[in-house]
Amino acid sequence: MGSADMRSFLAFLGRSLAAVLLSFAVSALIMLVSGYNPALAFASMIRGSFGSANSFANTLSKSVPLIFAGLACAYANKGGIFNIGCEGQLYMGAFVSTVTALSLRGMPRLFVIIASILTGMAAGAAVGSFNGFLKAKMKLNEVVVAIMLNYICRFFTSFFVSGILKDPDSETPQTLPVGEHYMFSKLIPKTQLTTALFLALIAALAMFFFFRETRAGYNVRAVGENGAAAEASGINVARTMILTMAVSGGLAGLTGVTEVFGKSERFIDGFSPGYGFTGIAIAFLAGNHPLGILLSALLFGIIQAGSMKMSYEAGVSTSMISVIQGLVILFVATPELVSIRIGRRRTA
């Protein structure tokens, strides 16, 4: 790493840390004003996520879907596309992978799991590349299209799991279970930590090397940084954009796959607590760096895993995690604000 690279890396690190600290500070202020004890709240949160081996395992398991969601957003960001369609893509991924597993029941375990992962990714990729196609070929704003697709996917899956694919014995709209046999193996019994963690780590590493070492990765970044220049240098911009969204959608699809095969065992209507949106915060916080995403996903995993204990001990609503998450997005996306604060402190 050259010294200029180093300096920009440190500046980025400083901004991200400042954004996180500011978010926690504002959250503490909100808790104080609302009559809670922020010190107790944060202490409980830490205890809830690190208190025992099992609770730490659950923290890690909460981070797994977040890693995929973060990678999905980051991959699109690198290519200059803001993918807020992860939510729809992950619903389709979860849905199609569940249907795959249900229709292959009785087949060998490894075959079913791999087929489910691949079809889930393909479903997410299909939605993503459609979004990318509309941006690249029809010059539509990808964000607006993504919002429409999010709802279309959400209601599309809801239609099936409330109707022909609904588990007849269940009150709520959900499919039949895919069967314990076809789930990811648990790493630690009685926790939700499964081998999906390795899948997430592999995805992050693969993305890291893809952008560092390959020509295709370079092309994606080139299109993201300057589409016109990339076009001039002979890169097929439209094709790159569509492929970028396909990969991003595939990663988002994996978020849904790991949710089904690592946790819920079936497709449950409306299961996502907004993973796609948390992914945006995670990607921005990590500056879209695949390895940084492991860290920022862990941070959000800690916040989510600790929220129950925080609520129980300090009385704060578990929704405080949304407050922190929203603030992180706003602060990270506003580098000028954060650097002004730091700048002032330095000159003072």
Binding site: I84, M138, S319
Partner: protein, 305 residues
């Protein structure tokens, strides 16, 4: 025959109008905001803030009017946050909007628990009463449009007319439309673009807050967790489908509301998810150029100084 009667009944008309109110208000907010060159994905969060503000205001003062004013204030402040971030600090507009939505979703629930010690819902408060217009209410059949309806219905129609008139018949509206397409040209012609943008985004926030208050203290009498339930995004779709025109927003809101009203009031054999999906499919088709070109404000979304 029975079905036709159900669909074209006075009840359906009234239900459609009622459901169109929050969509119309928020969608016109979106029109004003996007015409000034700022994309506002935070409509959902601004409506939610308004819904909460209205209940809190009514709860603490005992007055519906104070509740509504408080909703306008809270909505306006959320709008101001978006404006300051986007205009002063050049935050990416879509990102700011998403952040505001998540923040509002969390903060309203945290404050709910802090104030009422309950999870995800408030205590009940006084509802805004309906009004009847003397004379008009006596007319056969259509008299029902003027009997016991919420004042929001008439205010919304008034806002549609005013917004349309200002946008297409006044200098202020002309400038706003120019800013949306050619901010540089407007600037060169001596228009204070920044001022227009701040006012537009804050106004959008207030309209969203007002729309939110309809959900919490008119349609209902309490705040419930995430009670906007996607109506903000639907309003955004109505902004686009309506061609960034207040009258278009109103007509689109009526169309979307009609689909929702059918879902609730008519026993059709169409699965409800397909009806719920309809606004988004229609908007996507319109965006894709099926049935004519739509062109939004050309410079919407990029502020580069």
């Amino acid at each position: 025959m029975n079905l036709i009667h159900q669909i074209f009944s006075m009840n359906m008309l009234l239900a459609t109008l009622r459901m169109a109110i929050p969509l119309t208000l928020a969608s016109i907010g979106g029109v004003i905001c996007e015409r000034s060159g700022i994309i506002n994905l935070g409509v959902e969060g601004m409506m939610l803030s308004g819904a909460f503000g209205a209940v809190a205001g009514t709860y603490f003062t005992g007055s519906s009017l104070a509740g509504i004013l408080f909703a306008l204030l809270v909505g306006g402040l959320t709008g101001l946050l978006h404006a300051v971030l986007c205009i002063r600090f050049h935050t990416r507009q879509s990102v700011s909007g998403v952040g505001i939505n998540i923040l509002a979703s969390g903060l309203t629930i945290v404050l709910c628990r802090a104030v009422w010690k309950r999870d995800g819902l408030s205590e009940t408060v006084k509802q805004v009463p309906g009004i009847s217009i003397p004379g008009l209410e006596k007319i056969p059949v259509i008299g029902r449009l003027f009997r016991g309806q919420s004042p929001y219905l008439y205010i919304t129609v008034l806002i549609v007319i005013i917004a349309w008139f200002v946008m297409y018949r006044t200098n202020v509206g002309l400038r706003l439309r120019v800013i949306g397409d050619h901010p540089k040209a407007a600037e060169a012609a001596g228009v204070n673009v920044t001022k227009y943008r701040y006012v537009s985004v804050v106004l959008c926030g207030m309209l969203c807050g007002f729309a939110g208050s309809y959900l919490s203290i008119v349609q209902s009498n309490l705040f419930v967790k995430d009670m906007v339930a996607g109506r903000g995004y639907m309003a955004l779709a109505a902004t686009i489908f309506g061609g960034w025109n207040p009258a278009g927003s109103f007509l689109t809101a009526l169309l979307f509301a009609f689909a929702q009203a059918i879902r609730i009031n008519v026993s059709l054999n169409i699965p409800e998810q397909l009806l719920q999906m309809l606004p988004y499919v229609l908007t996507l088709l319109v965006l894709m150029g099926v049935g004519g070109r739509v062109r939004g404000p050309q410079a919407s979304g990029d502020i580069k100084d």
